[in-house]
Amino acid sequence: MLDADRLREGGRPNPGHATYSNMIHRHADVVTISGYTNALQAWQGSNKEHAFPQGQIFMLPNTTWGQPTFWVIQMIADSFRPRVLQLDPDWQTYGDGCKVDVVAVSSEDGASLVLRAANWDESAATLVRVVFHDSLKKQQPTAVSVLLLQGTSGDPLEENDPGMPHRVSPQNRTELFHAASQTLTLPALSYVVVTFEWAPRSEQAVEDWKYAVVALACVAAAVWGTYALAAAYTPPLLDNHQ
């Protein structure tokens, strides 16, 4: 199996979209728009395009289909929430052996919280422990949904082709979040979007939520390392409406 670290040295490193998107969310106060390039690309259309094969939607004269990057974009768009929650300590995975990046966003009233996690480790799943803030602990989520994007072969270059255009596409995998232990499993080479919903809140609860923050700590970066999502009283980081 290829290892990204080897590519880091011998290859040409480039931003991956899920992690890049998480990073841009954390800079939403100074970056107002970010657009993936490119939108369209002909399937094996020309040598020039092969040299720059970064389209999210591929096309043939009779069909179009999305690549893994397309599905990541769709999962982000479908789970849009206006608030980006601060991570404490500041999430820096690169160089620390961590291959997981998580961003947390919420609705204005805090009744809905979304975690978007990318695990680009090619062989190891990772467990994330989710610890809610005290004000959230008092009330269990009324609904939890988990959407998983994962390859089928373990090939880090896996793509969708005209023969199997939906080979890599999102699946509902609620069982990846274990409610009793509050743990979330991130399979190897996967992108996971978890949505927690709470019942509508009182005005006071909404006010409390404004001071909630999701903190993320990398406890261990080994195989089956555990990451903890905790919470503390800190002002929210960003308003995504800017």
Binding site: M1, L2, T19, M23, I24, I33, T37
Partner: protein, 201 residues
């Protein structure tokens, strides 16, 4: 009745320094567009400008000359300050620096620069490049190298084609081959293989 309005415009794409002519053009366009917008009771226009700044330019300017590097960037920001948030610097991501972490540092420096100059300017990324579309590009790691030289594959089972049987000029084919070779341990390490791959199929 549907009414469509264009409220954003780009003044040049990846326009390199010197920046003073670009700034002059931007201010002239903004003045004309504002007058026109007032005349038709339309909202004011916003503008994308700029070229691909490298992080070292924000910290320790690598460009020289009166309009290059940090001095030129600061000049553009200062002269367009009256336009407030209506000016957006178009940063294209993907080539240099390379990694998400480096880009995070870049935007930290960008934030610090705007704060120091007390500017309301913001950034946009109208090109997030990654040179791939598969799982690694989707998730957050790295793309394969684009081969800079030809790659030769020997096929002893095919006498007629023994020797350099085919040349892979196509990065897509090269990446497929690289993956297969490394998966089956035909090449102990792909490290530093930009110089060429010599293997047996």
């Amino acid at each position: 009745m549907w009414v469509c309005a264009v409220a954003l415009g780009q003044v040049g794409n990846e326009v390199p320094p010197p920046l003073r002519p670009l700034t002059d053009r931007l201010l002239a366009i903004a003045r004309a567009m504002d007058e026109r917008a007032l005349g038709i009771d339309a909202p004011p226009f916003s503008f994308y400008v700029g070229y691909n700044i490298w992080d070292d330019e924000l910290v320790n300017s690598s460009r020289t000359g009166e309009d290059g590097g940090l001095a030129g960037i600061e000049d553009l920001i200062n002269r367009t300050r009256p336009l407030g948030r209506r000016v957006l610097w178009d940063v294209h991501v993907g080539d240099k620096p390379k990694t998400v972490r480096e880009w995070s540092v870049f935007f930290d420096h960008w934030r610090a620069l705007l704060a120091r100059l007390q500017s309301q300017m913001r950034a946009v990324v109208l090109e997030e490049n990654g040179h791939d579309h598969g799982m690694l590009r989707a998730l957050g790691a790295f793309s394969f190298p684009t081969p800079k030289v030809f790659f030769f594959v020997l096929c002893p089972l095919q006498p007629l084609t023994c020797g350099p049987s085919f040349i892979l000029k196509n990065p897509e084919s090269y990446r497929r081959l690289s993956f297969l070779l490394s998966r089956y341990q035909l090449i102990p390490s792909m490290r530093g293989c930009e110089g060429g791959v010599f293997a047996r199929c």
